[in-house]
Amino acid sequence: MDESENAGPESEEQRIARESGYWRANVRLLAVLMTIWFIVSFGCGILFRDFLDQWSLGGYPLGFWFAQQGSIYVFILLIVVYVRKMRVIEREYGVDGE
């Protein structure tokens, strides 16, 4: 997984490459999660709300549900996924040292 583990002390370039690799992976994850964040709140709850209202979740019109309930549940899930994924990315790029 991490080449620096068995290759002895890493050079300055290797360290910089590893750390910028970590940052790129972090930004990629952020982009994905923030896109979902935008879709559930601004998308489902506001822009496409009327369209979604043709379906119902129990007594909730679907778009209304996203605006007042669903988006909040997804927000929590997004942070949970972020915390877990970041642990994996940190280990992968060897930046998880205390």
């Binding site: 923030m34 506001i46 007594g59 007042q68 972020y82």
Partner: protein, 586 residues
């Protein structure tokens, strides 16, 4: 025991608890005073953040706002929770890694400039005082209605309590009292919500109850019934809004971004041990907040339904006890237009503006008002702020539930006020004295300055609570709009752009701040009569304009920064360092 005795008992016990905790966790150093020494467990911090965040506005006003706004109320639900995703992903871990005490600390260091630090302090103090005036008003309302003391005395008692634990305990004392306050407020919010959901739908879980059928055998869903009842009375259907889509979009965005940029929320993430804990802690904070925020729309809808059913077409002489109680507190009024003694609740205003009561009584015994007349059929005035407080009475719940709600409302207002006071005092003693004007001040002197600043801030807040300037309610939009347009872009670019320099950041903050300030002030203070959709730019109300301010901030900052020289090497190293978690790269 009477309800009144129960209220004294619950409120007194909760106050004793807060003071006990504060004395047990006094702060001895500036680090303990500012950030509880950075030793707070992420779950504990999440709970404290939730109490810090959920103010009198969330506890008392939000469900009432939603009750009367219906779908439009979604802007608060999404806006005040979605901001935590931005905070967790884009700001909190990096600011924690940076490892100082305050937001102006970060802006001053990242933009290598005292000017940038002072601009940040000005934004911070303005935002925090706007916010705190609202908390003190909340304390006043709860005291005057439930403890039957004058509003002024209520504010002074509230100030005394906050003084004890904010000035003595600093961040350390505040953190642990906020945990206790979270428990009190969430319990106080959920218990009546369970009761009411069960009464209306037969399902005690409010989040499910709102999507269920009404338990009256009609087979209608709650929202269907509410839509039908309201449209019959001439209101817009509950699940339809009246605001335009672009306005809903911009207000939601301004509230989200503003939340992520509010200094008293950000500073809570300086108190956990590491960047990793900051992420986790933001997640927990959102879980604790979501518990109340997913319940609020149900409470709002049930309250509206109950209100219409108990009040409309009821003779005033048979009005329920809570109706006349709140009338005595000036928050409800009945204007018997047609003289039949029966309350007709319809769409529209019963008279112009908030009620101005005369000493006289009408034919049915109602208090008369001297307001200008309006067209229409509506005869009932109701202040939205009473819905949560009156809910247990409207639904005929037992006395201890009412006592619990009183204690919960106070917990919400006090916890937020304390967090804000701490941010203000830190800004004065740390950012202005220590970092800018008196760098040689000793640790002891700085701690004393922090306590003096906190005391002064409490006195100002109390004054604002006792003599609320007329515009307080009008300028809440300021806090979020200004945070979104000034602090958020500066922090965000400080982390995600290595090229952003001090010239760009300062120009951006000043532009965003000035534009947003002028737009809101024009429509809210100088020319309130022109505050209608036709006059708004692109149909965006003052509440949502912070988003445009933020875009301007980004645009100006990026252009100015491109035309001036790049930040020095050590700043780029600083950015590299805060991007890494743990101590790596330190």
């Amino acid at each position: 025991m009477t309800t009144q005795t129960l209220i004294y008992l619950f409120v007194g016990a909760s106050f004793a608890l807060y003071i006990g905790i504060a004395i047990a966790s006094r702060a001895a150093s500036t680090s303990e005073f500012y950030v509880a020494d950075g030793h707070v467990h992420p779950i504990v911090n999440g709970m404290a953040t939730a109490a810090d965040w959920m103010s009198a506005a969330s506890f008392i006003s939000m469900a009432g706002l939603i009750a009367f706004l219906g779908y439009d109320g979604s802007v608060y639900l999404m806006g005040w929770t979605g901001g935590y995703v931005m905070l967790a992903l884009l700001l909190a871990p990096y600011l924690r890694k940076f490892g100082q005490y305050t937001v102006p600390d970060f802006i001053g260091a990242r933009y290598y400039s005292s000017a940038a630090r002072v601009v940040a302090v000005v934004c911070l103090i303005f935002i925090s005082f706007t916010y705190i005036a609202g908390q003190m008003r909340g304390v006043g309302i709860v005291f005057s209605r439930f403890l039957e003391v004058p509003v002024d005395l209520g504010v002074i008692i509230g100030m005394g309590i906050v003084f004890v634990y904010a000035v003595l305990g600093g961040m350390k004392g505040i953190t642990y009292t906020q945990v206790a306050q979270y428990c009190v407020l969430i319990f106080a919010y959920m218990v009546p919500a369970f009761f009411i959901s069960f009464l209306v739908t037969g399902n005690p879980v409010p989040q499910i109850g709102l999507g269920s059928q009404v338990a009256d055998g009609s087979g209608l869903y709650v929202l269907q019934k509410l839509d039908g009842t309201l449209t019959d009375l001439g209101f817009t259907a509950y699940t339809d809004g009246t605001k335009s889509m672009i306005d809903i979009f911009c207000i939601t965005a301004a509230l989200m971004i503003g939340t992520a940029g509010l200094p008293h929320v950000i500073v809570r993430f300086f108190t956990v041990p590491s960047a990793r804990d900051a992420r986790k802690s933001a997640g927990w904070a959102l879980v604790f907040i979501a518990l109340l925020y997913t319940t609020a729309p149900a409470v709002g809808a049930f309250a509206r339904l109950n209100f219409v059913e108990t009040v409309n077409e009821t003779p005033y002489t048979q009005a329920p006890g809570w109706f006349t109680n709140w009338e005595e507190n000036d928050l409800i009024a009945f204007n018997d237009r047609n003289g039949d003694g029966v309350m007709q609740y319809r769409s529209g205003d019963p008279f112009a503006g908030a009620p101005v009561f005369t000493e006289e009584r009408g034919a049915s015994g109602e208090r008369l008002v001297s307001n200008d007349a309006t067209e229409g059929e509506n005869e009932v005035y109701v202040d939205r702020d009473i819905m949560v407080l009156a809910n247990p009475e409207i639904a005929n719940l037992p006395g201890w539930v009412i006592a619990l709600v009183a204690a919960g409302g106070l917990a919400a207002a006090l916890s937020t006020a304390a967090g804000l006071l701490l941010v203000i005092s830190t800004a004065v003693s740390h950012d202005l004295l220590k970092q800018t004007f008196r760098p040689k001040i000793t640790e002891k002197g700085e701690l004393r300055a922090a306590r003096i600043a906190a005391t002064a801030a409490i006195l100002v807040a109390g004054y604002l609570g006792i003599y609320p300037p007329g515009f307080v309610a009008q300028v809440v939009a300021f806090a979020f709009g200004l945070a979104a347009a000034s602090l958020f872009p500066a922090i965000f670019m400080g982390i995600f752009s290595k090229r952003m320099n001090k010239e760009g950041a300062i120009a951006g903050m000043v532009t965003g701040l000035t534009f947003t300030f002028l737009y809101i002030a024009w429509f809210k203070l100088w020319s309130p009569e022109s505050n209608v959709a036709e006059n708004w730019w692109f149909g965006i109300s003052p509440e949502g304009i912070g988003v445009i301010g933020m875009l301007l901030n980004f645009a100006v900052a990026i252009s100015v920064s491109a035309a001036t020289k790049a930040p020095p090497l050590e700043i780029r190293r600083l950015v590299d360092r805060i991007r890494l978690p743990g101590n790596a790269g330190a």
